[in-house]
């Protein structure tokens, strides 16, 4: 799995902890990495993803459907799930403010045996680390 993930585009390094089942992925400096592709690659290597979190810098935008989204690059954004923290980001939509967040992109639904994200990844904000 480590080798399989390491071959994905944008991946600089992969650390796997067998004890707690955690996989740490460090993107290359340009940060152009596709989390959905990582979930698929993990699944393809015979392991299911129970949970995925990311730390990212980006801007809050409104997507073409009017949903609040977090843009990590001009062509990559994640729709933000509503929670207490996301409400505080509404005011930043469309502004040039760059924020760093930690958020959950995927959680395997309870009772589902096999992991794998079939729907587009949604971002649940867990922590807003800084605003600039």
């Amino acid at each position: 799995m480590k080798q399989h993930l390491g071959r994905q585009s944008g991946v600089q390094s992969v650390e796997v902890s067998l004890i707690d089942g955690k996989v740490q992925v460090t993107p290359k400096e340009d940060g152009r990495i596709d989390p959905a592709q990582l979930i698929q690659a993990t699944y393809d290597s015979g392991v299911s993803v129970a949970e995925m979190q990311m730390t990212a810098r980006g801007k809050v935008i409104k997507d073409s459907s009017g949903n609040l989204a977090f843009a990590t690059s001009p062509n990559q954004s994640f729709v933000i799930s509503q929670n207490e923290l996301s409400q505080g980001l509404e005011a930043l939509a469309g502004s040039t403010t760059v924020i760093t967040i930690r958020g959950e992109l995927y959680k395997k639904p309870p009772g589902k045996k096999k992991g794998g994200a079939s729907a587009p990844l949604k971002l649940t904000i867990l922590e807003i680390q800084n605003k600039r």
């Binding site: 799995m1 796997v16 067998l18 707690d20 089942g21 955690k22 996989v23 740490q24 992925v25 460090t26 993107p27 340009d30 940060g31 152009r32 990495i33 989390p35 990582l38 979930i39 993990t42 015979g46 392991v47 299911s48 993803v49 129970a50 949970e51 995925m52 979190q53 990311m54 730390t55 990212a56 810098r57 980006g58 801007k59 843009a71 990590t72 690059s73 001009p74 040039t96 760059v98 760093t100 395997k108 992991g115």
Partner: protein, 35 residues
């Protein structure tokens, strides 16, 4: 003329730094079924 070039360079630098500011820094997954 020099000031104009410096200004343009500064603007380019600021633009590039803003673009590079947005990115995924780290991803952590919890997986199941790993042997």
């Amino acid at each position: 003329m020099k000031a104009k070039k410096l200004g343009l360079l500064l603007l380019l630098g600021v633009t590039l730094s803003l673009v590079s500011q947005a990115q995924i820094q780290h991803i952590e997954m919890r997986v199941e079924g790993m042997t």
